[in-house]
């Protein structure tokens, strides 16, 4: 495959500009799919979070996982101690599966995991660790039959993973707001609470939504009452404790 560097740059830049403004998971994913079409990727998902001490924890999961592999992965509780991801973490860099294979740097347990993935159609993959501001690490996983190996493509895949991972997490909060006890909130209340959950101050929310600070405070007071929270901090905690969904509600 010939790779035009300018075209790659254009695709990457346009995704970086679009991602913070994406309206939903499906929107973000659709735009990502457009840009990675032709590189042999069939599935892309951010599926595992690790804390700053490199211990596995189940975190936000979004994207388009290979469901057969996800069934095996979670059925076998591989996320508790996945030797492949553990290897990628220790190496602290993105890895194509076969590179790790070829160099014989991974052991039998990791080969077993990769073999299980291959059995359900994930024969090739590229794992990109995405470190977050607090030391947590999200892993974005590209999967397919045979992925493009051009170095510029690999660089762009790593860059796309950053925007897909960080903005996908933001959209996950948004999707959680659409379920459970948040269902009764109106559109404006949703917007206010979403921005509050992203860490904006009342003043910034007011400026972003073209409202007065008093109106923002009014909306927040109503939100607290409707969802049974004492304050905004508690409302945000409720969002984070809401159940995570594999699929995008959009």
């Amino acid at each position: 495959m010939s790779v035009e560097r300018d075209r790659l740059a254009e695709d990457f830049l346009s995704f970086a500009l679009l991602a913070p403004r994406a309206l939903s998971h499906s929107h973000l994913l659709k735009e990502l799919d457009k840009r990675i079409a032709g590189w042999g990727i069939t599935h892309v998902a951010a599926c595992v979070m690790m804390d700053h001490e490199r211990r596995f924890k189940v975190g936000p999961m979004f994207g388009k996982p290979n469901m057969a592999w996800a069934d095996v992965y979670f059925g076998e509780k591989l996320y508790l101690d996945d030797p492949v991801i553990d290897y990628a973490m220790r190496a602290d860099k993105a890895e194509y599966w076969d590179e790790a294979f070829d160099s014989s740097r991974i052991g039998k347990p990791a080969r077993r995991v990769l073999s299980m993935a291959g059995d359900v159609g994930a024969r090739d993959g590229f794992l990109v660790p995405v470190p977050l501001y607090n030391g947590d690490i999200m892993v974005v996983s590209y999967q397919g039959e045979r992925l493009e190996r051009h170095p510029d493509v690999a660089g762009v895949l790593r860059g796309l993973a950053v925007y897909f991972g960080t903005e996908g997490q933001r959209l996950l909060i948004k999707s959680k707001l659409r379920s459970g006890r948040f269902a009764g909130l109106n559109t404006r209340q949703m917007q206010v609470l979403h921005l509050a959950a992203l860490g904006r101050r009342n003043k910034d929310i007011a400026s972003e939504l073209d409202l007065s600070v008093k109106t923002v405070e009014y909306h927040l007071a109503n939100i607290h009452q409707q969802i049974g929270a004492r304050n905004t901090k508690e409302a945000i905690a409720i969002i984070h404790s809401a159940p995570e969904t594999l699929s995008d509600p959009d």
């Binding site: 470190p131 510029d152 660089g155 960080t166 860490g199 904006r200």
Partner: protein, 263 residues
Amino acid sequence: MLVHCVTSANRSRYADQLEEMFKQRHDVFVEGRGWHELRRADGRDIDEYDTEETVYLLALGDAGEVYASGRMNPTSGRHQLEEDGVLRKKFAMRAPPRSHRVWEGSRLVGGFPERYGRDFARESLYMILVALQEFAVRRNIIEAISILEMPALSRFQSMGWETTPLGIPVQYETDHGLGEALAAIWKTGPACLASARLKTGIRNPVVYEAAPAIDAEEPQPISFQLLASAADLRSPEAQSRALHAVHALLDQESQGDLRQAMN
């Protein structure tokens, strides 16, 4: 711990700390990351972008020890992504903005978890990140540019600071294998500062700018302990009042009136 804003005006008051910072930069970038082009015989990392215009942000402890640091240069002057520069050609496929209101951030050093433990290392790094935004707000800087290593890109992005690439990620050779970075513009301003404060939990102001040294030959030392005590106060109002008082005291100190002021 406070983040000191070291400018050309007050630089002579921080000679020891700047020396320590240059050595730390060497340890981190030359020895740690293998950026061999920066190697100098004196074991310090100083290059052509450490200029008179450069502002250093130094996270300093009670005894003046350096916990973290960052380098800021206005893009209207010399900076790494300047036109015709080697790094510009390598990393930027689009021209970066050039303005006195757009600054370049570089040489972000912080943490040292091996030396100070993971929690303290993270706190000092958080201090510098908040300080970057606080500095930008104070100086009316609208955005910043940097050559960001990939982990820094995702950390900035997850901090809520929107980053816009100026090119695709580029690999480069180091003594320890391949590294990867990209040139990007990142947002600064009150919203980014608010996001940084919320995510790091640092609610008080962290940047302290000492008065200019009156006598560059015999600069007055900074009273780090006094400043740190003021910065440790819990409420922002109390901290602001205390820092203001300390600042005034230090101004008088630099004019030789400390004894009179203390009495």
